[in-house]
């Protein structure tokens, strides 16, 4: 079967009669959310720039970071890969929940997709759940890929897995809300520029990949940012097998404030 024929109904010659009589109704809510999750995940994984952000850059950051730490004889307290892998996992969460989500949503608004879905049976909270589902699926792929690369580089985690998952979920909530706040407030092009700029700034100076204590006087400030908090919480959970309660609370507070602001300001058109 050629790829072309796959899309063709063999019984439907042009002009074949369709039963157009009204039979309206919404699909069950769960199936709608599933369809939306599936669609958003496929589109995200098909988009080259998004893949660069989701997979390629974090892998390069991990491999490059470990190589640089070895060459510069950087003292991170532990084996560099043990410190850097949780940090890069935090970076991956940031890129998917914030940068990818903001850019995708900004252009969905611009292209009228949000309006089209607004006229469909899918309620707005269903759309939101679909997006969350897609983010979590992509993060799962990221964790598998980056974990594998980490182990290949000699990563020996001292892991509190539930704490790491909680940190990732709280970080996703915080950055996802911030991403939607941005996408709902400014033009798509501005969202693209700002989301990428913020990503670069946090990647280099946000306390995500490297521990906040490496930043000297800036460190204590970074611990109050969602980037530093997510990085610290992931390192605590995966490098020392402990729960960083304060960082978790910082993430929760950012998530709550950003979600509240987003619900007040988000424009669908």
């Amino acid at each position: 079967m050629s790829p072309d024929q796959r899309w063709r109904d063999p019984h439907a010659a042009p002009g074949a009669r369709l039963d157009l009589s009204p039979a309206p109704g919404a699909a069950p809510f769960g199936l709608q959310v599933l369809a939306q999750t599936r669609m958003e995940t496929r589109l995200l994984l098909r988009n080259g720039e998004q893949l660069l952000l989701a997979i390629v850059i974090p892998v390069l950051a991990l491999v490059g970071g470990v190589a640089a730490a070895g060459r510069l004889d950087l003292d991170l307290g532990d084996q560099p890969v043990d410190v850097l892998t949780p940090g890069v996992l935090a970076l991956a969460g940031l890129s998917t929940a914030f940068t990818s989500l903001a850019i995708a949503t900004g252009f969905e608004r611009r292209y009228g997709l949000l309006k089209r879905l607004g006229a469909s049976p899918l309620p707005r909270h269903g759309l939101l759940l679909g997006k969350i589902g897609a983010i979590l699926l992509v993060e799962l792929v990221q964790v598998v890929v980056l974990g594998t690369v980490g182990f290949a580089l000699g990563w020996q985690p001292d892991a509190d897995v539930p704490a790491a998952l909680l940190a990732l979920v709280l970080g996703t909530a915080a950055f996802g809300s911030l991403g939607l706040l941005l996408a709902g407030a400014v033009r798509a092009e501005a969202t693209l520029a700002i989301a990428n700029l913020v990503y670069l700034l946090l990647l280099t100076g946000g306390g995500v990949v490297f521990p906040t204590e490496e930043y000297g006087a800036l460190g204590p400030v970074l611990e109050w940012l969602p980037s530093g908090a997510l990085g610290e919480a992931m390192r605590a959970a995966l490098t020392h097998g402990s729960v960083d309660g304060r960082s978790m609370l910082v993430l929760l507070a950012w998530a709550a404030v950003a979600a509240l602001l987003t619900s007040r300001t988000f424009r669908w058109e």
Binding site: A12, L18, P22, P24, G25, A35, Y111, L113
Partner: protein, 240 residues
């Protein structure tokens, strides 16, 4: 399924944007099972009126009932029952045409077969083409397919044949007539007088936010004038 008659009932609708009054006390009725064309110059308030019926905008004054429901308060009950064709856009730029149609079909309980619908609209050859690479006419046909794939009782189509070649226009007209024959109510806006004349049971001409003439194409042109003459006579030149 019993449908309350009329399908759309608008009374005294007023919509303002800042200092501009887009809709100024508009009243209009659409009978079930008809094709009703809404004509008017650019900026006459057609799209705003449609978007109020579709629940995108809240009526600032007056009442709007669609299938007997309030488009804002009863939005969740209403949306599965209506189909909306947007004037442009409405898809991810990277989504394939048929993939988008399948997606919207999955949001409905008893959708049409997406492949058969695409074939009916001559979209089978661009089923795997990303949305951003579709021609204007293909985007229009996909937009129509997205509006009817959920088997609605009532469809709103905003300039359905803009940018279409004559073949695609005929295909679209045939489909709209078939929808009517199947019991679907169709409300369309258009700038093409021939489209309104050939398709519509009833024509409403809107100018500066009010309906200024209504009737069947035959009634409106009973004195021997063309529909375009009538249109030019009852409407004002738009600034846009």
């Amino acid at each position: 399924m019993p449908v309350p008659s009329p399908a759309v009932e608008i009374n005294g609708l007023v919509m303002r944007y800042g200092a501009t009054t887009a809709v100024d006390g508009l009243a209009m009725t659409v009978d079930s099972g008809t094709i009703t064309a809404v004509l008017g110059p650019n900026g006459a308030g057609k799209t705003t009126t449609l978007e109020t019926c579709e629940g995108f905008r809240r009526a600032q004054a007056g009442t709007v009932r669609v299938l007997g429901l309030d488009p804002r308060k009863d939005r969740r009950a209403l949306l599965p029952r209506i189909g909306v064709m947007l004037q442009d856009g409405g898809a991810w730029s990277g989504v394939r045409a048929l993939e988008m149609l399948h997606h919207v079909a999955r949001l409905h309980a008893h959708p049409l077969d997406p492949a058969a619908l695409a074939s009916r609209l001559g979209l089978e050859d661009c089923g795997r083409t990303p949305y951003r690479r579709l021609s204007g006419g293909q985007k229009q046909r996909l937009g129509l397919a997205l509006a009817i794939v959920g088997r609605p009782e009532l469809v709103f189509v905003d300039e359905p044949t803009a940018g279409m070649d004559p073949h695609a226009r005929r295909t679209t007209w045939d489909l709209l007539r078939e929808l009517r024959a199947a019991g679907v109510t169709v409300v369309l806006t258009t700038h093409h007088m021939d489209e309104a004349e050939r398709l519509a049971d009833v024509v409403h001409i809107v100018d500066r936010g009010r309906v200024v003439a209504s009737g069947s194409p035959a009634d409106l042109t009973a004195d021997g004038r063309t529909l375009e003459d009538v249109f030019l006579d009852v409407t004002t030149r738009s600034g846009t």
